[in-house]
Amino acid sequence: MNTASKEYFSEHQRYIKLAAEIGVLILAFVFLLLPGTLRESDFPIGEEAYYHLARSESVFGTGFGWNFLLGYFPLNFLLLFTGLLSLLFIFLNLKMLKLEEKLLALGFFIVSPAFVYLFNVGERFGAGFLFSLIASYFLFDKKYLIAAAISLLILLFDIWMGFFILFLIMLYFLLMKEKKKFFYLLIGVFLFSTLLLGDFSIGIVSDLGAKVGSSVFALSFALGCFLFFWNKKKFLLLYWAAGLLFLFSLKVEFGIFYFSLLLSTLMSICFFELLRAKWESKLIRDLILLIIVCGLMFSGLSYANRISKEKPADDIFNALNKLPDDAVVFSGVEYGNWIEYSGKKSVWHSFMNRDKIERIEGDFSAVLDSRDYSGVIGVLEKYEIDYILLDDELRKRWGESGLLYLLRYNTEDFRLLFEDDGVEIWRFFR
């Protein structure tokens, strides 16, 4: 009887683990497919993907590895595939954790805005992130050369991401070889350069409107963990790493992805620590843990919903498709990649060098703010503009003065060609 019961329970445990694994897999599919399902348009989300799609098969431009892959595989397939593979490698990398901690960490990462962004918006970072996970898998397996070789591959997707991973490998290597002096020196350099170079980004919390960031609940939970368990040794390294990555995320765009992963791991460990701790009221414990899970889910779901409503909508491409190929179209900087994807030439786009963007911005500030006819025409002619694309957002941003004023009242140089649901195309007669 005893033996039967034991067997029953061990089987039972196995089924629970299996159910948890299947649950995490379903969750992954849900968050990988949800924004696309909620989206009304069939076009990819955001503007970044269009830069790469416009250059697919090409081995030039930013993230040329990703451009190249897009030439051979559909974007949606690549995003789903890299997303699932990333989760597999995260699972394999977290071998120091218990199964339930691993699964929960995966769950927390899946519902994080960073994951939703990485594998739903077709940017180059998703593939880079996957390769960095593969590299770390080999690194933990002490196959340093393979790890370094894979890290070099990341350079094809994003140069800075590649250097960052190589730097992490070096840190790990120094730590393993117990060369603590060099290790701390490098950490110091890292901290110093993170603090001093570049500008701080204030948008790191997705719930407060950041483009991609952490959930406010994840950050609060991590802070709570720190306050509760600050004296626990096993958290010490994680806190340090999380602190450094947090600072890094404030400066570097892709930092948030690694920070979110670390945060998920930290939260998972902390969650079980809280579950096992002695509580006076089990009701309060269960409710607190439930609220934490609900909060994280809420952040993830609301972020998925938010990005599903991101531009572009069909009407922008409907308008652009009416124009001849190679025509020069002027619009907002973030519209540039859509213009180029549709086969037209854009004055500017967000992947351009920052100085160049600022220069163009300087030229067009006169166009957008003043009613000086000759000044406006001069700038439009300098950039050989044929068409102007406008929508509600741009009209609101640019205001009624400047170019919009001339479009309305100067019928000699400008003519409205097309208008649909707030999207307008104006012809400029050079």
């Binding site: 609060s220 009221s281 909060g295």
Partner: protein, 488 residues
Amino acid sequence: MQIRRSYKILILIFLVVLFARLYFSFQTSYLDNSGYLVKRYSENILETGKPLLYDQLSYNGREVLYSPLWHYILSIFRIVFGDLALKLIPALFSSLLVVVVYLLSKRIVDNNELALFIALMSGFIPAFFINTLISASIYSLAVPIMFYLIYLFMDLDKEKVGRFVAFSFFLSLLHPVSILFSLGLLAYYLLSSSENMKIERIKGEAMVFNLISTFFLQFLIYKKAFLEYGFSVIWHNVPSQILGSYFDFDIFGMLYTTGALTLIFGLAGIVLGIAKKKDKILLVSGLVLATLILLWLRLLEPRIGLMFLSVALVVASAFTLNIFLSYLGKTKLPYHRLSFVMIVLGLIILSLAVPSFVLASKHVKESVPSAYEILVLEWIKENSLPDVTIVAPLGKGHIITDVAEKRTVLDDNFLLAPRTSERYSDVEKLYSTKSEVEALEIIAKYNIDYVFIPIETELKYGKIKWIDDEYCFKGIFFGTPKVYQVSC
């Protein structure tokens, strides 16, 4: 037997307070401006069963964001009592504060008579009395619940945890002011730690739960506002022109609306409580501290902050009065003790009841629309097209949308409202400008069909000159208020 007697007195106090409230609130058949907003939201629930999410009348149509729990509660009572519920139910809830304060004071001082006296005091706190009279105010429920939570927290045990959790959730769902309670608990934790006082484990757990649940629910309800404004959400999208004065804190006003003696005895109670390391007083002090900090940082509207502050001070004054009464027993005044005590207590009641009644009768006269105003708005409702827009000053927005059922350019429900600063400035300019061209530009910008000119506006800006152009503006009403129809 003793308990029965005190309960009888408590019921009597409750009835006296309820009667006083009903007496003042039924002096007028109207509500104040914010009361009309609550009325309209609860009407929508009565008609459709759903909260109003897109308000077609406010700001010419805009999204609205609020927790509809209070409006649901009022709607349920309106099914039975009709529009009477808008005055009756808030009066009933706010009168319940005396019961909560009685329980709290009894726990602090263990003196039944004194607790009853404090309960009586709490019934006539001017700041709370006038703000919950004719506005169907959500605070009539939020304030008693918050102090009930403090009562539960004082001697929290496993038995009370369920109730604490339920009411904590309820308060968070009811109104964002639940954040004040969470901050009060946090301040209590800091005060206790600074005094080296150990907080019971179950209280620590309850605090963490309260913090997390409040945080979560506020994010859930106000997600859109957080996304739209980020951290600036704390300013509620209040127009920049009035932001400075919106949170202005007037010390003399505070003395009057809190009651000078309450303030003195309350603050003394807090100081003595902290000095004597009284855990229960520390808890009340936490709330006082949190309220003061928020007021100081201009994150809490003084009108609202003072409600919580004055109730907390009344509760804390129980501690001072208890010390005072026991001190009197030790002096050589035993023969005059009763008369002395009666004088002091009488003074306290006078310092609360007199301002309450004076302010209440003033509030009831000045804050509601006049019968003529209502007549004018009802005429517009009957005699104009359904989609016309009326321009009115900030303080009249909700009255117009409810009574006339027409669109307005602006009202004081700022959260998620479009371009509040610009609209506020345009409306101010419209009433103050001497240029008809400028006025017509603003009229065209917001598609204004009627210009509503209440007497307050004329007193503030003087006579509006451009309105005399008979070609463009057709006078409809010439009393107070004046109403002109735009015809060009």
